[in-house]
Symmetry: C2
Subunit: 134 residues, 2 copies
């Protein structure tokens, strides 16, 4: 598996954990400190404990969001990688930054930010499965 | 200078280039590809040419934004670093992710995202100079 595909795999695991409301998976996906998470509209969360606590609260909520990742693009920077993607959330579209760090051959998330975008996806009106890694 | 301070310095140079509408400085601040930029509300820009073209258009505009960086926090990941900070823009507050990569002992920006936040700064009502690096 190429490094780019390995990062895409880690990125898909993140959205799968959200879809499955899988708190233990989310714990594995996030790396060790220093980590941070900027949920849309929230104040910045810095530190693994606060970040994972936020995800546990989000995923255990009855109204946990249904998010589909669209058009992920990987930007490799050695042992770090930035993924830029869109998040389709029940008709709304966000744009997201996911940062991963490679440790012991495994890519783990160290940063996430999502926020509004005016972008329109070409296939937004006909949602299907997320695109496969190239 | 510690690596953390070196990253804060690069982060401050980014906001200084915006304040001074300094396009050549912005060209120096951004690193080589792969780079990406998620301006608030825009579609994702991927690639140095598109990113720098966007900054040239923003900075050459008469209504170029006046942005003050607040509460920057550095998260070091080897040769990469994530800065989480708030951007105070004429009464509005955004939260931002700035990613830097170290190349030949110099930290250069490779990613930027800014988006809305409900956070309130303790000193938001009494703006002063940006806090100094710790």
């Amino acid at each position: 598996m190429s490094e780019e595909n390995a990062v895409l795999f880690a990125n898909e695991a993140f959205y799968l954990a959200i879809a499955n409301r899988d708190v233990p998976a989310m714990n594995d996906i996030w790396g060790d400190d220093p980590v941070a998470c900027l949920h849309p509209g929230w104040a910045a969360l810095v530190g693994r404990a606060d970040v994972l606590d936020s995800w546990e609260r989000i995923l255990s909520h009855d109204a946990a969001p249904k998010i589909v990742c669209r058009e992920p693009r990987v930007l490799l920077h050695g042992d770090a990688a930035v993924v830029v993607c869109y998040e389709q959330i029940e008709g709304e579209l966000l744009v997201a930054t996911n940062v991963f760090r490679r440790a012991q051959r495994q890519w783990r998330m160290v940063h996430h930010q999502a926020g509004p975008t005016a972008a329109r996806l070409s296939r937004q009106d006909a949602p299907g499965p997320a695109p496969k890694p190239n």
